[in-house]
């Protein structure tokens, strides 16, 4: 008679313990971030889609159109074309596009780049209504960035 009663009591007490735990949580503040009104800081190494890095001196891309990234990409989503312009020592890109619909954000391209001309952008809220929005032209993006934040070279 004694054991079943004790079992009943321990069982009931375990329920009360559980209720105590949730009640203590009840009076603590929420841990969530109300997303559209507040955002979390994006870490330094965040892997967004890739973008071209500007040469701080010339304001142009550091890319030498070696196509290493194109070859390294597991999904084949990068297309690079380049020519050697008159008077330049290196090649420069004429086409640099990323098909973001196929990109798996692995970072292989950034890793293999010999001139460190690629980096991850920090765009995260990518949403769109059509596929075309994700065929990114990185050269255009670079020009747009150059227009909004001039480097010392372009200022001069």
């Amino acid at each position: 008679m004694k054991t079943p009663l004790r079992e009943l009591w321990t069982g009931f007490r375990s329920l009360l313990t559980g209720m105590r735990v949730t009640l203590t949580q009840f009076f603590k503040p929420p841990v969530t971030v109300p997303y559209p009104y507040a955002t979390l800081p994006i870490p330094e190494r965040y892997r967004g889609h890739i973008e071209l890095v500007r040469d701080p001196e010339t304001g142009m891309s550091l890319c030498v159109a070696c196509k290493s990234c194109e070859k390294a990409c597991p999904s084949g989503c990068i297309v690079v074309e380049g020519i050697k312009r008159e008077g330049d020592k290196k090649k420069s890109p004429t086409v640099f596009t990323v098909d973001f619909t196929r990109c798996s954000l692995c970072g292989s391209c950034v890793e293999v780049c010999p001139t460190e001309a690629l980096r991850f952008s920090r765009r995260y809220n990518l949403a769109g209504t059509d596929r075309e929005a994700y065929f990114l032209d990185l050269l255009k993006r670079l020009q747009a960035q150059a227009a909004s934040t001039p480097t010392p070279a372009t200022k001069a």
Partner: protein, 331 residues
């Protein structure tokens, strides 16, 4: 201060409907906010201040949706079930003693009526589940019936224990007997039966089981049966089931308040009134919400075992004890 009969009736019908409607709507809000706080979230915040208009937005959404009767379902029973689930819950409000003079229809058999109507909602869920022509719904319907049959018994045994103490089925009279401070409430009448608090706990457990609330939400059991008997219901059909669940909780908690916690009586003996009734009622409802967001669901047979092997013996025991004590100790 009594109104002539037809006006009185109309006033109470309107009052009950408004009370049930507002309660159902705002208990959903309380439930969501409460759940959120238990889980350290803010809960609904977008529609109105603190999400207070959320229930209205939900209701508009549900009302504007098409009522779909699945092909092969029994269309009549399928449409009937939400009505059957709502009606008894509304009718029970007629006998609830909100205050000393605030009862729609004081009846000498009020408790009997409340208990009788309380068990109709089982049939409604059975109807809905059966008529849906969905395997999950039928499993759920079968579960609901055996669950409610199992829990009706300890519930009634507890009610009988209480009847022996009070000697009346009139809810207002039961509350009146508990006047004069919290030690006179039935739950603390230890000299009549030292196991009175246990009786109250049994009543509360049965109440959770009868209203199919977690941890006894076998009927809905969303991770097992999708949505159980309500799987095929869309739009307001589902909305009515949902409202009925909250209406039943209100009825159940109101009964618990009246039977055990002294209804509208103040715990200090003075200043009794409808406010105390509502306070106790909502504290109990908060506990129901609190329990739901704390525990996992019981097993189905574990639930039946709990009823047949633990609750029924104990409630029979308290019944016996009370009768013995009443016979020998009190003259």
């Amino acid at each position: 201060m009594t109104l002539p009969e037809p006006y009185r009736l109309a006033a109470f019908v309107l009052g009950a409907l408004a009370f049930v409607g507002l309660n159902a709507a705002y208990l959903v809000w309380v439930e969501r906010k409460g759940a959120a706080r238990f889980q350290r979230r803010p809960g609904p915040t977008e529609v109105g201040p603190e999400g207070l208009l959320q229930p209205i937005a939900d209701a508009i959404k549900l009302l504007s949706k098409q009522v779909i009767v699945p092909p092969g379902a029994d269309a009549l029973l399928f449409r009937l079930a939400p009505a059957v689930v709502m009606a008894p819950a509304l009718m029970t409000f007629a006998v609830l003693p909100f205050g000393a003079h605030l009862t729609a229809r004081p009846m000498s058999v009020g408790l009997l009526l409340a208990v009788a109507f309380g068990s109709i909602n089982v049939m409604a869920i059975l109807l809905g589940g059966w008529a849906s022509r969905n395997k999950y719904a039928i499993i759920s319907a079968a579960r609901v019936v055996s669950q409610n049959v199992a829990y009706e018994i300890p519930l009634l045994l507890v009610v009988i224990t209480l009847l022996m103490i009070t000697g009346t089925l009139d809810l207002s009279e039961i509350v009146r007997q508990q006047a004069g401070g919290f030690w006179r409430w039935n739950v603390f009448k230890l000299w009549v039966n030292p196991l009175m608090p246990v009786t109250f706990v049994i009543f509360f457990i049965c109440l959770l089981a009868e209203t199919n609330r977690a941890p006894f939400d076998m009927a809905e059991a969303e991770s097992e049966l999708v949505a159980g008997a309500f799987t095929e219901y869309a739009g307001m059909g589902f909305g009515v089931f949902f409202m009925a669940e909250y209406a039943n909780i209100v009825v159940g908690c109101a009964l618990a308040t009246a039977l055990f916690l002294g209804g509208w009586q103040s715990p200090f003996g003075i200043g009794s009134g409808v406010g105390w009734f509502l306070l106790k009622l909502y504290l109990l409802i908060f506990t129901v919400v609190w329990i739901r967001w704390t525990f996992p669901r019981t097993q189905f047979y574990g639930l039946l075992n709990l009823s047949w092997k633990i609750l029924i013996p104990i409630s029979l025991g308290t019944l016996g004890l009370t009768s013995v004590l009443l016979k020998f100790i009190r003259p």
